[in-house]
Symmetry: C2
């Protein structure tokens, strides 16, 4: 990766404010909330899920941590690939059941090696791939397959 990891300083949200904020979030019946990640160019990168622990860690460390529904574990974005997300801002929607994260994305967000996960355009002629990978999954993960 040639892109520099411009780490940003996140002012950690401390207890008891963190506890107060987490108490306001409306997690769903599985204890999860959807989180949209948007970069500084306002490019929407991905949507993933957080449980209470993942959101608490994200707001405390400034490093975005999701919850992997398939692996049923915390998913520290970039822990395998190095493609970390530094948190710049976070906002809840009107129903308090969805998060919009503004992030500084190192490299690519998508496990396919694309900057954004949203590359499959629905068009009158069918599904069209809008972008090519910037990097191969092999280069991202070595012999591994998941981020």
């Amino acid at each position: 990766m040639t892109q520099q990891d411009n780490k940003v300083e996140w002012a950690p949200i401390a207890t008891p404010i963190l506890t107060e904020l987490l108490g306001k979030v409306r997690f769903n019946e599985q204890g999860l909330i959807s989180a949209i990640a948007q970069d500084e160019s306002r490019n929407v990168l991905m949507l993933a899920w957080m449980n209470r622990e993942a959101l608490a860690e994200t707001l405390t460390t400034g490093r975005v941590c999701y919850y992997s529904r398939s692996r049923k574990t915390l998913w520290r974005k970039g822990e395998s690939s190095g493609q970390v997300q530094h948190l710049l801002a976070a906002a809840l929607d009107c129903d308090l059941d969805c998060l919009l994260l503004t992030v500084r994305q190192k490299g690519v967000a998508c496990h396919t090696g694309r900057r954004s996960c949203f590359y499959n355009a629905l068009t009158p002629t069918g599904l069209i791939e809008l972008t090519e990978p910037d990097i191969t999954p092999d280069a991202l993960y070595g012999a591994k397959t998941s981020s």
Copy 2:
């Protein structure tokens, strides 16, 4: 509302391409897919859900139609408030289980009268409202309460 309703021409996706596309979408166990709406300024407006019927209608008409999980019915955005969303583009993510819609939003997307639903910032001092409503819910809905 002073904002002009700049209707856009959406090239309808016809059968059988529509059927082919809908067959690729990974709806969840409730038959739903999450859909993020982003406007032409790349402002993320809202997240809502679609079932197969809502997505088919959206791709056919170019007017965004969601599925209301609370009302258990199709939710043609703006049918009560007039704040319609004209579809400009739609893309699926890498897992084919989330949609990113680019829309021309008439007026405001949020039922609170704000342009975007994501106005509750999570900050070290607590939840802070980032924006004020552009219009009151009463002006949007009259005596009604939901869009």
